[in-house]
């Protein structure tokens, strides 16, 4: 049904089965590039409503993991399930996004030829079908939603600006905004505070903690202060597998983690 769908319509919305309280199952996933193992038999389970921080050395495979979850990269082996019932590996990127998995990229990627507003409009949680969007109009609710998000990301004044003209940090915010309007169940956030000032970092932290509970959030970040301020459970990746997992304090005192990641006096 999914593989050969008639090219006119979108996937029927599957009911997400959360009966076992876990929303994401990553089991035994391996990815290799030209023989180099970016992910190596990785296992990761995330509960619904959790705010999970993912840390690990540069090149540990964090972004690659997100690529796998969002359907961008096909793993060599393993399983990835969304809830009990949805096998993400059998889905296309678009399907996965429609299931409610949103992503913020490490390098900000916004639509430079579109205004900030249009960027948000396109990201709205809505029917993504062709016919629908040919005639779609913004509803009042959607308008409010966008306004709300604009004020969160501080780009009200730039709403009509082309996204291409934003500065690096502004693009970061816009991308967070795009994630927010799409109202996802699971948010994958790759390095949200890179290039932000301390103040902005704090605001981002607030934002993310606010989101958790209702939604599930996975954050990748190297800014330890930031991680400390939001983290409940932290998973440390190393060379494509989980090196350690636990609370921030547990992880911070882990000898291996200090050795390969934090450095002596972090």
């Amino acid at each position: 049904m999914n593989a050969m769908r008639w090219p006119t319509e979108v996937a029927s919305a599957d009911e997400l089965d959360l009966s076992h309280e876990y929303i994401l199952y990553v089991e035994g996933v391996s990815v290799s590039f030209d023989g180099f193992k970016a992910l190596n038999d990785l296992n990761l389970y995330v509960k619904a409503g959790e705010l999970r921080c993912l840390i690990g050395a540069n090149g540990a495979g964090k972004t690659t993991l997100m690529d796998v979850i969002t359907g961008k990269t096909q793993p060599d082996g393993g399983n990835v399930f969304f809830g009990q019932n949805i096998n993400l590996l059998a889905r296309s990127e678009a399907d996965i996004a429609q299931l409610g998995i949103g992503r913020k990229f490490q390098k900000p990627t916004v639509f430079e030829a579109h205004s900030v507003l249009d960027n948000l409009e396109m990201s709205l949680k809505a029917n993504k079908g062709i016919w629908y969007n040919l005639f779609a109009k913004l509803s009042a609710v959607q308008r409010d939603k966008i306004d709300e998000v604009l004020s969160i990301i501080g780009l009200q004044q730039q709403r009509h600006m082309l996204a291409g003209a934003l500065s690096h940090g502004q693009k970061q915010w816009l991308e967070i905004g795009m994630l927010l309007v799409s109202d996802p169940l699971l948010l994958l956030i790759d390095e949200p505070v890179a290039g932000m000032t301390g103040q902005e970092t704090e605001r981002t932290a607030e934002l993310l903690t606010g989101l958790a509970g209702e939604r599930t959030v996975i954050v990748v970040e190297h800014d330890m202060e930031f991680v400390r301020s939001i983290a409940r459970t932290v998973t440390v990746l190393h060379q494509g597998s989980v090196l350690a997992q636990g609370t921030m304090d547990q992880v911070q005192s882990n000898r291996y983690v200090i050795e390969v990641y934090l450095g002596e006096e972090a």
């Binding site: 590039f33 180099f36 840390i55 690990g56 050395a57 540069n58 090149g59 540990a60 972004t63 490490q106 390098k107 501080g154 003209a165 934003l166 500065s167 690096h168 940090g169 502004q170 970061q172 915010w173 390095e191 890179a194 290039g195 932000m196 000032t197 301390g198 103040q199 902005e200 605001r203 190297h222 800014d223 330890m224 202060e225 390969v260 990641y261 934090l262 450095g263 002596e264 972090a266």
Partner: protein, 231 residues
Amino acid sequence: MITFQQVNQLYGGTQILWNLDLEIRKGSCTCIMGRNGVGKTTLLKCLMGLLPVAAGEICLGDTVLNKVSAEQRPYLGIGYVPQGREIFPMLTVEENLRLGLPVRQDKARQIPDKIFELFPVLGDMLKRRGGDLSGGQQQQLAIGRALVMEPTVLILDEPNEGIQPNIVRQIGDVILKLNETEGLTVILVEQKLGFARRVGKEFRLMEKGRVVASDTMDKLSDQLIKQHLAV
């Protein structure tokens, strides 16, 4: 050593830098700070000749840089680590590094070992395409690439973006070492106060395309931070 005098810059019809004045002392490590979008990157691009200056003068020592083409500026000893890394994605790590060799004074034909001592991961990944590296690895490559040119002035635009903590420390150490023991002039754009305080000797605060405060790092007060860096 480097001076900006009344520099104005425009994107199309949009003015970003407004009569900007700035002075960087030789041998110092100067931190340029400011909120997102105030024009830090723009300023550095003007310095590198990648953006045209509408009015004003930029000098390196006695040389008026405005008249020097962008390609010539590295030969004056300026090394640049841009924001967003700007790795040559389809070149291997080695090739990325080699590109800096012709600029060196000593015309060395080999990539100096020093680079690999500073960033061992680059040595492991010599044959990998630059574009395939992880974000943090790319950042290290970008710094390494600038260092291959043996610059006298090193410009870094948010070098710690996306770098794992122990490497951030390391980069800090490297910058300090280059600045203190080798006398390299460093211009650093940095958002993270901690890091800025640790490696920076001086600071320049920017607001809306102007430099609004400059002093030595120990003078960076909470008041100033609140005024110019808070959102």
